[in-house]
């Protein structure tokens, strides 16, 4: 596929690996923010190749993993109400709430439909006027323009049977929360490339300056990831800390103004609990009051959340904050597997635990794309 295959070229990747090894005089600790990057780094073998040169700590960039259990519980409760059709992304289906997942709720009669896009949910609402269609909106800034657009479309179509259950989170406040924690080891960030297509590059400048950390906007293919690492390492070696963009084919400095306009029309920022990380100031999005008729929290009475007891054997909070790597969790691979997950990071296609389970270092056949591909 154009704009994908070229950035998987093992020859280019190898020369970048060589550059990075030449540049680094010590082992630097970088955090890749997005779970998609975590998977790319493990699958391509980059983490293993750079052992001793760069340590990668895995960031909280898995929207499904940080969605609070009480939001999932409410979605499940809505799916069981007569006349409600709950729609969401496929990634959400198996994520455990406080007691069960949407998958088990569906098995016992809950009305849950997976959609590829929130705009498909608008279309479902248009075709099924007798049903209340709720879209469970999870995701970062990458996804928020699509859900905001769904509200604008539903409003223009005059639909009174469409609403959003909003659980959107914002990446930058979470990066700041990580930098503020006392045990933070992160020396540089690979910022989440697709989030930056929307929010841009310049918005990171203050954060980088305040904490003295390089922040490099980075893509997802092996060559993209290595370009980000190389930039970060070069900055650290020269004692500088600035914001740079190694994903320029997709990211403009100012972001996407059309998308940001749609988002700010529909959403306001708000404090938001992140699963495993606690409440993050300005860490989420809520619908503006003028769109309240499209807010599922307003349309359907939300039960008072029960006190949550997260599974004691799951260390997802430590994983999401980058304090431990998944194999350090005692349940990893034993009581917790993708088939029977204890925590969200083992479920999601972007979760760090699932990434380690699938592409674990030294799992031979997986770690091929850079190391074993012949010239």
């Amino acid at each position: 596929m154009k704009y994908v295959d070229e950035y998987r070229d093992p020859r280019l990747a190898r020369s970048l690996l060589h550059e990075i090894r030449q540049t680094a005089t010590q082992c630097w600790v970088l955090m890749e923010v997005c779970g998609g990057q975590t998977h790319g780094l493990l699958k391509s073998g980059i983490i293993q190749e750079l052992e001793g040169v760069v340590e990668l700590i895995h960031g909280p960039g898995c929207p499904v993993c940080v969605t609070p259990a009480e939001a999932i519980d409410f979605a499940q409760e809505l799916a069981l109400r007569p006349g409600v059709l709950l729609t969401t992304f496929g990634d959400m289906l198996r994520v455990p709430g406080s007691r069960e997942s949407l998958l088990t709720v569906r098995a016992r009669g809950g009305n849950v439909r997976l959609v590829y896009s929130p705009l498909d949910a608008v279309e479902l609402a248009r075709q099924n006027p007798s049903q209340q269609v709720v879209f469970f909106a999870v995701g970062f800034e990458t996804t928020a323009p699509a859900t905001a657009l769904s509200v604008l479309q539903a409003a223009q179509l005059g639909l009174d049977n469409f609403s959003l259950l909003v659980a959107h989170v914002r990446v930058q406040p979470a990066m700041e929360a990580i930098l503020q924690s006392a045990e933070c080891r992160v020396q540089g960030f690979l910022a989440a490339g697709h989030v930056c297509t929307i929010s841009g590059v310049t918005s990171y400048e203050e954060l980088s300056a305040r904490y003295g950390v390089p922040i490099v906007v980075t893509g997802f293919e092996p060559v993209d990831l290595l370009l980000g690492i190389q930039d970060c390492v070069a900055q650290l070696e020269s004692g500088t800390a600035s914001v740079s963009n190694q994903y320029q084919r997709n990211v403009r400095d100012a972001g996407n103004r059309h998308a940001m306009h749609i988002m700010s029309d529909v959403y306001a920022t708000a404090d938001r609990p992140w699963r495993g990380l606690g409440t993050i100031p300005s860490g989420g999005l809520v619908l503006r009051p003028e769109w309240r008729q499209f807010d599922a929290e307003y349309r359907f009475q939300r039960p008072t959340p029960t006190l949550l007891i997260e599974c004691a054997d799951c260390r997802s909070g430590d994983v999401l904050a980058g304090r431990i790597k998944p194999p350090a969790c005692e349940s990893f691979g034993t009581r917790c597997t993708p088939e029977s997950p204890l925590g969200a990071p083992m479920v999601s296609s972007e979760g760090a635990c699932a990434a380690y389970y699938r592409h674990a270092p030294k799992s031979g056949p997986h770690a091929v794309s850079i190391t074993n591909t012949g010239r």
């Binding site: 992304f89 705009l119 990458t142 320029q248 084919r249 998308a259």
Partner: protein
């Protein structure tokens, strides 16, 4: 979840600011995508699509520049290896 896939705009279907849509081709498969965030993209341009909407236009010149720079770096490395 933030997965986004590059595709080529084959044909605009509707230029409405809210309902704008185009047919986009991904490795031979065509899908209809919402275009409200990339109203200026033209047929033949590449866009990155996430959750049914195009979120950014791909800068072809920039994409080429990066690959050319890397190819030069790679050649230099290979010369050194000789």
């Amino acid at each position: 979840m933030c997965l986004a896939v590059p595709g080529k705009i084959v044909r605009w279907l509707d230029h409405d600011p809210t309902f704008g849509r185009a047919e986009v081709e991904f490795a031979g498969i065509r899908r209809i995508c919402h275009m409200a965030c990339v109203p200026d993209a033209a047929e033949g341009d590449y866009v990155l699509v996430h959750a049914g909407i195009a979120i950014t236009q791909i800068d072809a010149v920039e994409a080429q520049r990066v690959l050319e720079d890397l190819a030069i770096l790679n050649d230099v490395d290979e010369e050194h290896a000789l």
